[in-house]
Symmetry: C2
Subunit: 421 residues, 2 copies
């Protein structure tokens, strides 16, 4: 089953608005095993819309078209559909009810221009719009079943679920397959390396297709599963996930698409432990990430963003001697920062960063990209040094923060294997 998506409207064509509808619709269809072959986007132009519809019709089983169903002169999609499929527009009584109901339910007066929205191409089936004035419609031409929806994202989403997906399910009732996607998240290996390692014969992954997606600074391995029933699907996905983990190892930090901060939060919660942070080069990003997770106040206590040396000394108790002797960017300072954050907050664990995000501040011994990460727990205080330069201050901060959280994750996994206290 092949689908295409057509977005219409001057605001998406000109780039004033990012077309989020196409991605939403594609995800809905792909999750149900319908391959989206292409997206198209054109402006409010009756010729271009009708050309696009004619181009789509011979090659697709389904098409979802958004936009151009409003009451104004710019809204030309029904016109374009009638022209493309060689039919006339006619006033659809159900569509008229949809439009008048919208106004009467809100005690608002219907503008005469709204009547236009009830004129649909001959042969179209009206699709009810519960939240707006623009009814949609379904129309078959050649092999393709077209669904026309409004461009307002909230109306489109509601109608995809209420009107489009149930009709698609009925139209393909002979197709008995089930589908699911699983996401494994990887940090610390570049995408090409992951690609090379996973370049094993496709048949080794029974009923599962692999896809890589780079979401800086992580890489996601997507498992697209397809099977005859739910149990077989889950079994295939489990086996594929195990196989990927055995190849990629502990660079895989999540088997269900969870963020690094969620994984770390879950590890802390499982240990009933608390965490504090001290950040220099990451400038607050680690604590921002940790506190993106709802309920993080259960384990996250404090972060000291100590950009100046004075703050490192005064707030975290880093010794002036350490700063003078080893410098602010050093394993020794990172360890004292972590110890300081742990001590003043009473947290079980603390993690720290000090480094050079750039573009300035680098030198021959400590180039831009240098980061020292400290970890302090009840049993040990350690630090690591890395050089991770991604040629951009913001990307460097992201990598430093992710690396610190990943070292924390690895430390928490280790401590889990032995008793604490």
């Amino acid at each position: 089953m092949i689908a295409e998506i057509l977005s219409t409207g001057e605001e998406v064509r000109s780039g004033a608005v990012i077309d989020t509808n196409a991605a939403y619709i594609a995800q809905c269809l792909e999750a149900r095993g319908i391959e989206v072959a292409r997206h198209l986007c054109v402006g409010d132009d009756v010729e271009k819309i009708s050309d696009s519809l004619r181009m789509i019709a011979p090659g697709a089983d389904f098409a979802v078209v958004t936009g151009g169903l409003g009451p104004t002169g710019d809204d030309l999609t029904a016109d374009a559909a009638a022209r493309a499929f060689g039919v006339n527009l006619r006033l659809d009584s159900k569509a008229m009810e949809n439009v008048t109901e919208f106004f009467s339910r809100r005690n608002r007066k219907m503008s005469p221009s709204n009547e236009k929205q009830a004129w649909l191409p001959e042969g179209a089936e009206m699709l009810y719009n519960p939240t707006g004035t623009a009814p949609g419609f379904m129309l078959r031409f050649q092999r393709c079943c077209f669904f026309f929806l409004p461009g307002v994202p909230s109306e489109m989403v509601r109608m995809m679920h209420d009107a489009v997906l149930p009709r698609i399910a009925r139209l393909r009732k002979d197709d008995r397959q089930v589908f699911a996607v699983r996401t494994l998240c990887v940090f610390g290996l570049p995408e090409p390396v992951i690609g090379e390692r996973l370049a094993v014969p496709e048949k080794e992954f029974q009923g599962v297709r692999l896809g890589l997606r780079s979401v800086f600074p992580e890489v996601q391995v997507k498992l697209y599963g397809r099977a005859q029933d739910r149990a077989e699907l889950e079994k295939n996905l489990d086996e594929a996930a195990d196989r990927v983990c055995s190849i990629i190892g502990d660079y895989v930090f999540s088997g269900n698409g969870s963020s690094m901060e969620t994984v770390v939060g879950n590890l802390l919660r499982a240990q009933n432990a608390t965490l504090s942070v001290s950040e220099s080069c990451t400038g607050g990003l680690i604590s921002h990430l940790l506190t993106q997770v709802a309920g993080s106040s259960d384990y996250f206590l404090f972060s000291g963003v100590t950009y100046s040396n004075a703050a490192k000394i005064k707030v975290l108790g880093v010794s002036r001697e350490t700063l003078d002797r080893f410098g602010a960017v050093s394993e020794q300072t990172a360890m004292e920062m972590a110890q300081g954050a742990r001590r003043i907050s009473g947290a079980v664990y603390a993690v720290s960063t000090t480094g050079i995000a750039g573009p300035d501040g680098g030198g021959p011994e400590k180039p831009v990209g240098t980061v020292c990460i400290g970890f302090a727990g009840p049993e040990e205080v350690v630090a690591w040094r890395y050089c991770l330069d991604f040629a951009d201050r913001s990307r460097n901060k992201q990598v430093f923060a992710m690396k610190a959280l990943d070292q924390l994750r690895r430390s928490l996994l280790n401590t889990r294997k032995r008793p604490i206290d």
Copy 2:
């Protein structure tokens, strides 16, 4: 002049990633008076990409193609271009330099698969990629000049400005008009309100077209200027910008597209002043934003992310009585947090946040979305309370952080008008 845009890649085709590149490219081209007729998006499929290129060639003057230039087997765009235009791939020495340079500058080992990125279609001109491994290329076929760029947004943006737009300007040198876009950034008014206020007759903005773009949590007013020469262009843009500012008032925080954190940083630098922060509900986001600006260590000293009450008391010196009597989310606590951050760091100014980002923790008196913002300077300590609920923890954090920075901006603008110390 007509342009088309082609986005390639499984992640955009399948909707796993929203295609922000197409909108960005469309805006760049439209701003220069080039009409974007259509966007297309297909997956990593050599047939579909080459079909699309052949479909675009006869009708467009320019086309920008993104994605598929990486080192893996999925990256097929150069192949597809060679096939579409009937040429072979050849190893391009300049492109090879671009790839090797990327690795040598970072002291990283080049993977053998990266060599693939230097194989370009015959007749192509390499486009230098300063921030990634994937060189782009330009290739003319029929009437259309194609620009192939990587799909990573940051690399694409850089190359649009460094490589594509200057070449387009040279190619249309007979076209004597000049173009520019200016961006005014607004915070604190919803987009429809800004739209209504700016709905004045188009002719009042001489040679300038207005566009609104919502970039949560701010709204950008774009001024698209077109004139016969540079001086007239600048004059028209200046007048239009003044007109917009007189209508929108001090909700406009930037007249040149600068971020709020850059604007605040410039105000601090102009006063030779320093800043510290104490954050509860924003969880480090304010300091993360402030430290996104290169050179922010000149004025940013410290942030205490005090999620727990214990940390508020111990690190910032908030009194237990204040917390007991007024609660952690109160103007009183916000003021003591700001005073504490200022005191322990020795900063001239401090700003603080304490509130409820949700989804839990709200109550009838202090619902989710409540935020108290404190400000402490040499002359005053104040606090404000707002209720700003955007139905999502992450969006609420963003709005709280932006509101705090905006209050800081307004306070700094006020202090500038009178002598300090």
